[in-house]
């Protein structure tokens, strides 16, 4: 049913841009750190994560609705 109402997108898939971070991962030693947002228990967080082993080096709360910027987020900045 859903395939008729909402067909599979034909365009490009959205890709989360990841900002390269200098340094090596403390867990696996790879030079593959990147900063990007994630949605997990407790809400949206901005993390620095090793792209090789997925270990998290840093984690801080991000905007409440992630990519959706609320007026209150702008006003309270």
């Amino acid at each position: 049913m859903s395939n008729f109402v909402f067909p599979r997108p034909a365009g490009e898939f959205p890709v989360q841009a990841r900002e390269t971070v200098a340094g090596t991962c403390a867990e696996c030693g790879a030079a593959a750190l990147a900063r990007h947002p994630v949605l997990s228990e407790g809400g949206w967080h901005l993390v620095v994560k090793c792209q090789a082993c997925l270990a998290t080096r840093e984690r801080e709360p991000w905007r409440r609705l992630g990519h959706v910027t609320l007026m209150t987020d702008v006003l309270l900045r």
Partner: protein, 679 residues
């Protein structure tokens, strides 16, 4: 024979030779546990010791404190967060608390951090057929990541592996190739039971225990033999039955919670000697009070236990409830001004204020010293001196307008009531009437605190066994070697199911006999866990008839299930089909156990007290208690309360309303004195 019970604070060692029981108590050395065990064992002498039975909670403590090695977890792709989700159960207190988090989840303190949990592309269906073949290239890539992260062990739990473990076995081979010969636990081998979260949790705990206990068992064995030991080293499992060390280390999750179970085993064994088959067993130590039940001479056994809420291990275990109430329980004033006792404890360091090791907070031990129950010069067999002035100063420092006398009195009452509440909860859970049960009081502080509870909980009597301070360690000399196997296979019970179930039992029995060798004296007992169709929880240990399994045997199994269900739940539903879930085998090898010598009866001069003590703060007025030495007691002696009975590692306190009678095997049986009539 010799036994050791390693606790968080103390390590207790007992030896029995020629009917003589000798004991030693040393402080547990965190980080060097085996050295303390060897020290205590050497103090008693290991020459000629035929068996050394060991129970420890240091594996459990490592899990609780998360002082764990780095372990990787492999599961079916898409399911790596099962260790975070658990069974999705909240405790009752958290049902309306949005901030509650499960203690082992990713938002709290996970056992295996998320980046070390890797999904493997494969899938086995519930009938054991392969839906997605194992993608070995994908698996190797994940294993290389784990190798880069320096994991010291791997736990593997794939969906439906309890039916078909082929993918898990192949993954172990790949682990060996990519990571070397590191400990690797497979769910299909150590716990081939349904329900993947419990199986995964058990497998992860097993991987941790293989690392923690593997080195420990080797060092312990070497250290004991260097001191002259040449016998059999056994580890106690969570039912306090004994497993030879080599066998135990193949699946060490079974020994993670052995210590508290030994007290129950010792109580059941001693209860048989004095014809007390129904017991509430309370082991009161420095930090906690462990409460368990013996019904008709047998400890109550569960098929799983929880290390923390929802942190499940599929090991047979004595049902023990622990509450934070012990001799070291801290007395404090809550933010609303109430006196609280526990659950925090002063531990061994700094310990109660009266220890003089720097502790400044009052504890139950400080109350007992101030009340006149403890001998300040004779604590711990005379090895420690207690300072009443420090205990007084600790109570005076409490921020409360209550008088000093009320602080001590109320803390005493509240401490006792905390234990009474724990006992009531156990009784309600098991549907037992406390008036039909006797309370076995042991542990360092059990005989000191528990007799005073008799008026609160109305048990039949309170029994203080011989050597109560080391009774748990003696429990390790009261058990048999036991072997068990289990496998899950959901099967609607009908005569047509007989051949399939028979094959399951035959396979398990063949493997069990290979482990045991050719012994004619082994009795193998069969049972199963079943459920009514539509249920998701099982009724465990339903008897299965011996001999060939036929259609008639299945009918008997169904009848047995309905009887067991009715005994547990009070009703039966014979119109609903019964489904067998887990099939169990157990084999017991009878071993030599500790015997308690009969005390001679008194002849000649009557029992005389060795002194008196003025008791303060425990009641409305002061009173004088007679002090006796346990070494002076003889069978048949009757002691009227208030009375204090001192021995090397324990003190018994009887209230004015109680009378104690010394029975044949040295126990003191304490009952409420009827008006003018001793019990």
């Amino acid at each position: 024979m010799m036994a050791v019970d390693v606790g968080g604070t103390f390590t207790d060692v007992v030896s029995v030779s020629g009917g003589v029981i000798r004991t030693a108590k040393v402080s547990t050395r965190a980080g060097d546990v085996d050295a303390g065990v060897i020290e205590g064992a050497a103090e008693l002498g290991l020459a000629g010791v035929s068996v050394f039975n060991h129970a420890s909670t240091h594996g459990l403590n490592a899990i609780i404190t998360r002082a764990l090695p780095k372990v990787g977890f492999l599961t079916t792709l898409g399911h790596r967060d099962m260790l975070d989700a658990g069974r999705c159960w909240r405790p009752a207190a958290a049902l309306t608390d949005p901030s509650w988090r499960r203690s082992f989840g990713d938002a709290a303190r996970p056992l295996v951090r998320r980046y070390l949990r890797r999904g493997i592309r494969e899938r086995v269906k519930s009938d054991g057929s392969v839906f997605t073949p194992l993608d070995e290239a994908h698996a190797r890539a994940e294993l290389r990541v784990l190798a880069q992260c320096g994991v010291q062990g791997v736990a593997i739990c794939l969906l439906n592996a309890y039916i078909n473990g082929a993918h898990e076995r192949r993954l172990r081979e790949l682990v060996c190739e990519e990571l070397g010969a590191i400990p690797c636990s497979l769910s299909s081998e150590i716990s081939p039971l349904a329900k993947e979260y419990a199986r995964a949790s058990t497998t992860v705990v097993d991987a941790f225990m293989k690392i923690i206990y593997g080195d420990y068992a080797r060092r312990l064995d070497a250290g004991l033999r260097a001191e002259g030991f040449s016998g059999q080293l056994n580890f106690a499992d969570c039912t306090a039955n004994l497993i030879p060390a080599d066998d135990a280390m193949e699946a060490p999750f079974r020994v993670v919670f052995a210590g508290p179970a030994a007290g129950t085993m010792g109580s059941a064994h001693f209860g048989r000697l004095i014809d007390e088959p129904n017991l509430l067993c309370a082991d009161v130590g420095g930090t906690s009070c462990d409460i368990s039940v013996v019904i008709a001479g047998q400890p109550f056994v569960n098929t799983t236990f929880e290390l923390e809420h929802d942190l499940v291990v599929n090991a047979l275990s004595n049902d023990i409830s622990s509450i934070g109430a012990g001799g070291g329980s801290l007395v404090a004033i809550s933010p609303s001004g109430d006196i609280t006792v526990g659950p925090g404890s002063a531990g061994a360091v700094p310990g109660p204020a009266c220890y003089g090791r720097g502790g400044t907070k009052p504890t139950m031990t400080d109350i007992c010293l101030l009340a006149g129950l403890l001998d300040p010069d004779g604590f711990a067999g005379g090895k420690m001196k207690l300072d009443p002035a420090l205990a007084r100063r600790a109570f005076e420092a409490l921020d409360t307008p209550l008088s000093f006398e009320h602080r001590v009195r109320y803390a005493w009452d509240i401490g006792l009531n905390n234990i009474a509440e724990g006992i009531f909860n156990i009784a309600i859970k098991h549907g037992i009437d406390l008036r039909d049960y006797s309370l076995m009081a042991f542990g360092a502080a059990g005989p000191l605190l528990l007799p005073a509870l008799a008026d609160l909980i109305h048990v039949k009597c309170v029994i203080v066994p011989p050597h109560p301070g080391l009774f748990s360690a003696l429990g390790l000399l009261s058990a048999d070697q036991a072997y068990s196997m289990s496998r899950s296979a959901y099967t609607i019970l009908s005569p047509a199911a007989a051949p399939g179930i028979a094959r399951i039992y035959a396979d398990m029995e063949a493997r069990l006999r290979r482990r045991l060798g050719e012994r004619a004296d082994i009795g193998i007992v069969r049972s199963f866990d079943g459920q009514l169709m539509g249920q998701t929880w099982e009724t465990p240990f339903v008897p299965v008839p011996a001999g060939e399994l036929t259609g008639a045997s299945i009918e008997t199994m169904i009848a047995n299930f309905h009887a067991a269900y009715a005994a547990r739940n009070g009703n039966r539903f014979e119109a609903i089909p019964v489904q067998g879930v887990t099939y169990r085998l157990s084999a017991v090898l009878r071993t030599e156990k500790v015997t308690y010598a009969a005390l001679p009866e008194r002849s000649g001069s009557p029992l005389e007290p060795i002194g008196t003590s003025v008791l303060r703060f425990l009641g409305d007025t002061e009173e004088t208690a007679r002090i006796y030495s346990r070494d002076d007691l003889r069978a048949g002696d009757v002691i009227a309360g208030p009375a204090i009975i001192r021995e090397g590692l324990s003190t018994t306190y009887m209230t004015r309303n109680q009378t104690g009678r010394v029975v044949r095997h040295g126990a003191i049986v304490i009952r409420r004195t009827r008006q003018g009539v001793p019990a």
